[in-house]
């Protein structure tokens, strides 16, 4: 497959992520339904193909491919650049996914796409492609709530039956539990998402955005020792991160730890181990690593706390972590300790599933499709705000 | 007279500690007792409390428990658990001030003596004998009825900055006045230093 050139920052576009299989490819027959899922609510475009056997055996992932738009250190991504990236890749990824799944267009039952929430321009770029395919191939169109996509994929992969869900990403921070055909939001951020808080601090420190800023913050945090005092803002089951971001940004500025210069020093130090030991500040001034460490300890403690509160509230012992921030090992570890102490367990997915992807949209879309849901063309516009609890979860009856 | 030495039954008291209390009226040798404390006479390691500053048993018990808990957790702010009991009665964080306000003074007439068995040789008998030999006063039972006849409620309220609360027995005070004041004192003792 030839990869199209993406304008903007071509050198920073990540390598094409190869697909994988969950189980073996089963032979194609009419004994199953097939959904294509198209996700593009943020800087990743993902195309996935799911097969749901009609005999009730477990659904199969036939293809799951993705391409990420990565911006240079110190910069976020602009919606128009991301949208251009998605438009440039969508056709190739759909073709690639069909080829990998060994599925022909005739076998496809529905085209599922992310209708929101997310960034407007990228959502639109993928939605227009979904509409086009639906019309071109005469397939049902299914608009999917991005958060519900995460939840349904998480349930499928982990086998968690009725978990409290912590959905944490660059755009969302919610604690969700199912009740009477809705995924109800028990708590959420009152301002910015936790992933946004991490991303923006990564920008302050000029930490690389490749593969994603939260990953690099976590690596740097592993060298941190000293906990600096940051605001800790939990109100009932809601959280707030903007005050923490302001506090740690200003701390970094006061200590002179931000900017390109210090980032370069970090990189040099990493290549020279001897220097690391003598670099230990004798005056106990916090380091860049200490700030990353403190930020992680603080925001993840807040997330675990509200999750525990929701578990106590609904009487559940399962926690499912979904969304890009869910791949953080420290968050998973802390959540694991909390769940263990409550006699429960954590269900987390690896980055193939918790980072935005196409199959989660295919999975949630297929469940909706099977329950009779359709998205008429006139109702297929995207919405940047699309609350998780707006979706009627018709496919669950408990 | 030793019969008036009471072994205070406080639940949650860490073993093997016991608390002995005795209440005296018309004390004649307050100045002598105070002098023993000032000179650091080990024989006189007691919490000697001016009983007019004690509102009720619950009030005194709260301070005793607070001091013992801080003692067990190595958090004493003063010399020993006995001085800490006097300090615990004070809602403010000033140790010298707490002795002036709650400790025995030369003019003390009514005295509450408290002894905690911090070492094995401190027994009920040893404490009873020593107190009998040392305190010149009339032993009375340590109960709320007797304490209420002694307490200077107006002064207690002033020290605890609770002047707005009704005093029990006032003509406008309701049936809850005693509880409200007592629980306000107990709460202040629990929260001191927070």
């Amino acid at each position: 497959m030839t990869l199209p050139e993406v304008t903007g920052h071509p050198i920073y576009t990540a390598a094409y992520e190869s697909s994988f299989f969950l189980g073996s490819i089963i032979s194609i027959s009419a004994a199953k339904m097939i959904a294509i899922g198209m996700e593009g609510s943020a800087n990743k475009i993902g195309i996935g193909i799911m097969s749901h056997p009609k005999d009730g055996s477990p659904p199969q992932v036939l293809a799951n491919i993705r391409h990420t738009y990565v911006s240079p250190p110190g910069e976020g991504f602009l919606p128009k650049d991301v949208a251009r990236h998605h438009r440039a890749w969508v056709v190739n990824l759909v073709k690639g996914a069909l080829k990998e799944a060994q599925v022909s267009v005739e076998e496809v039952d529905c085209i599922c796409f992310t209708q929101g929430p997310g960034m407007g321009a990228p959502l639109q770029a993928v939605a227009i492609a979904a509409r086009m395919l639906s019309l071109l191939w005469g397939k049902a169109l299914i608009g999917v709530n991005h958060c519900v996509g995460h939840i349904e994929m998480g349930r499928l992969i982990t086998g968690a039956t009725n978990p409290v869900v912590l959905y944490v990403s660059g755009g969302n921070t919610q604690v969700i539990a199912y009740s009477s055909q809705r995924y109800r939001i028990f708590g959420e951020t009152l301002d910015i998402a936790v992933g946004n808080c991490l991303d923006r601090f990564a920008r302050t420190l000029h930490i690389s955005n490749d593969p994603f800023p939260g990953y690099n913050i976590e690596q740097l945090a592993k060298q941190g020792k000293q906990l600096v005092d940051l605001p800790y803002v939990v109100k009932g089951m809601d959280v707030s991160f903007s005050g923490i971001l302001a506090a740690i940004d200003s701390l970094a500025a006061t200590l002179g730890l931000g900017g390109e210069e210090r980032a370069r020093e970090d990189a040099e130090r990493a290549s020279n181990v001897e220097q690391t030991s003598q670099d230990k500040d004798s005056d106990n001034k916090p380091t860049r690593a200490d700030l990353c460490f403190s930020l992680q300890e603080t925001v993840y403690a807040m997330l675990v706390e509200i999750t525990e509160r929701a578990m106590a509230h609904v009487g559940s012992k399962q926690v499912l972590i979904v969304g890009g921030v869910g791949s953080n090992e420290r968050l998973q570890e802390m959540m694991g300790i909390m769940a263990r102490d409550r006699g429960g367990s954590v269900y987390a997915t690896d980055e193939r599933f918790c980072i935005d992807n196409g199959i989660m949209i295919a999975q949630a879309g297929m469940l909706a499709y099977q329950s009779g849901f359709r998205t008429p063309l006139k109702d297929s516009s995207c919405t940047q705000r699309f609350r998780t609890d707006e979706v009627h979860v018709k496919w669950r009856e408990d | 007279m030793a019969s008036h030495l009471e072994t205070l039954d406080i639940p949650h008291l860490p073993e093997p500690l016991s608390v002995y209390v005795a209440l005296y009226r018309d004390v004649q040798n307050a100045a002598f007792l105070r002098q023993q404390l000032l000179s650091g006479n080990k024989e006189f390691e007691y919490a000697f409390i001016d009983a007019s500053m004690v509102f009720s048993r619950a009030h005194a018990t709260a301070a005793i428990f607070r001091a013992i808990n801080d003692y067990k957790n190595d958090r004493l702010k003063s010399h020993n658990v006995h001085s800490e009991i006097v300090f615990a009665l004070n809602p403010a964080n000033n140790i010298a001030d707490s002795f002036r306000k709650f400790g025995v003074t030369d003019s003390t007439k009514d005295l509450l003596a408290v002894k905690v068995s911090v070492s094995p040789e401190i027994t009920r008998d040893s404490v009873a004998a020593h107190l009998e030999a040392s305190v010149q006063g009339t032993p009375v039972p340590f109960d709320d009825q007797t304490v209420s006849e002694i307490s200077d409620v107006a002064r207690i309220k002033k020290v605890f900055k609770l002047g707005a609360l009704p005093s029990p027995g006032d003509k406008n005070s309701g049936p809850n006045a005693k509880r409200q004041l007592e629980m306000s004192l107990v709460g202040a003792i629990a929260l001191r230093g927070s």
């Binding site: 906990l227 403690a301 509160r309 429960g344 516009s381 940047q384 | 639940p11 957790n73 306000s184 927070s194």
Partner: protein
């Protein structure tokens, strides 16, 4: 899945005999029944165990802050004459427990003898659902009047709380109790067998804070109204009584109620349904 075991009690309660009895296990605290400092009087013991998932420094800071905040609110309310459990003893850095040297914080409170309002309303509603049709008009009127009066007393109690400068932060009918009166005449008099007698006592101030903001007060009212609406459908039509009791309780009530009316959902962050037209030309 491992069977849940509550964490070991902090000192000195690890040697209390008989051992404190675990009543409820919430997210932040465990509630026990034990003795007060007087063996003839029971007490409630709230333990905030150390949270091993948190960094120890952060854990101590939060645990300490919160137990002190709760105790301060209760102590203030007792001074102000609001009906809440009084603080009997407190330790914001308890020793012992599972983790060496740090067993979490504890707060010993007055024991309130009586039922929680949730149970009273549930029992009353259950009886009414089954038997209301057997009552004559006068009896029905009398039954409704009892619950209306209870809601009015609850409104008044909440008003008293707000007047004292404290907001509860987690008001449900589970956090309201009725202090058992010396002699209960109502349970026998009513065909339902359910008494609504007793002073309304507010409990569980784990999320409380000192505030006189209309916004915070309105959240208390809103949360309580929503809790009654979702758990006590038969009592919900009498909500006006609660509002009435609240309005009469203190001068600031009027502006709080207006705040609630102007913005009926002060809880959630704004979530505008911004619809973005999707058909944009390629750039």
């Amino acid at each position: 899945m491992a069977e849940y075991k509550p964490p070991a009690l902090p000192a000195p309660f690890n040697s209390t005999n008989p051992a404190p009895e675990l009543l409820t296990q919430g997210a932040e605290g465990h509630l026990y029944k034990t003795f007060s400092l007087d063996p003839s009087i029971p007490a409630a013991l709230k333990v905030r165990p150390s949270k091993p998932y948190r960094h120890p420094i952060l854990d101590r800071r939060l645990t300490r802050q919160r137990i002190i905040q709760e105790a301060r609110c209760l102590a203030k309310l007792v001074r102000e004459g609001v009906s809440v459990p009084a603080v009997l003893a407190l330790d914001w850095e308890g020793q012992g427990g599972d983790e060496a040297g740090w067993g979490g914080a504890w707060l010993m409170m007055e024991w309130i003898d009586g039922p929680v309002v949730r149970v009273v309303l549930e029992q009353w509603e259950a009886w009414m659902k089954k038997n209301a049709s057997s009552l004559d008009a006068a009896q029905l009127e009398q039954e409704n009047a009892r619950v209306k009066a209870l809601l009015r007393r609850i409104g008044k109690a909440l008003g008293g709380l707000h007047k004292a400068g404290v907001v509860h932060g987690d008001l449900t009918t589970s956090n309201l109790m009725l202090r058992l009166p010396a002699e209960d005449t109502e349970a026998k008099a009513s065909p339902t067998g359910v008494s609504t007698q007793g002073e309304v006592v507010l409990i569980d101030f784990g999320l409380a804070s000192q505030s006189v903001q209309d916004e915070d007060r309105a959240v208390d009212l809103y949360v309580l109204e929503r809790a009654i609406g979702s758990t006590h459908p038969r009592s919900e039509p009498f909500m006006e009584e609660l509002v009435h009791g609240y309005r009469e309780s203190h001068r600031g009530a009027i502006s709080t109620l207006k705040r609630l009316e102007d913005n009926p959902v002060p809880l959630s962050p704004p979530s505008p349904m911004t619809m973005t037209e999707c058909f944009l030309p390629y750039g």
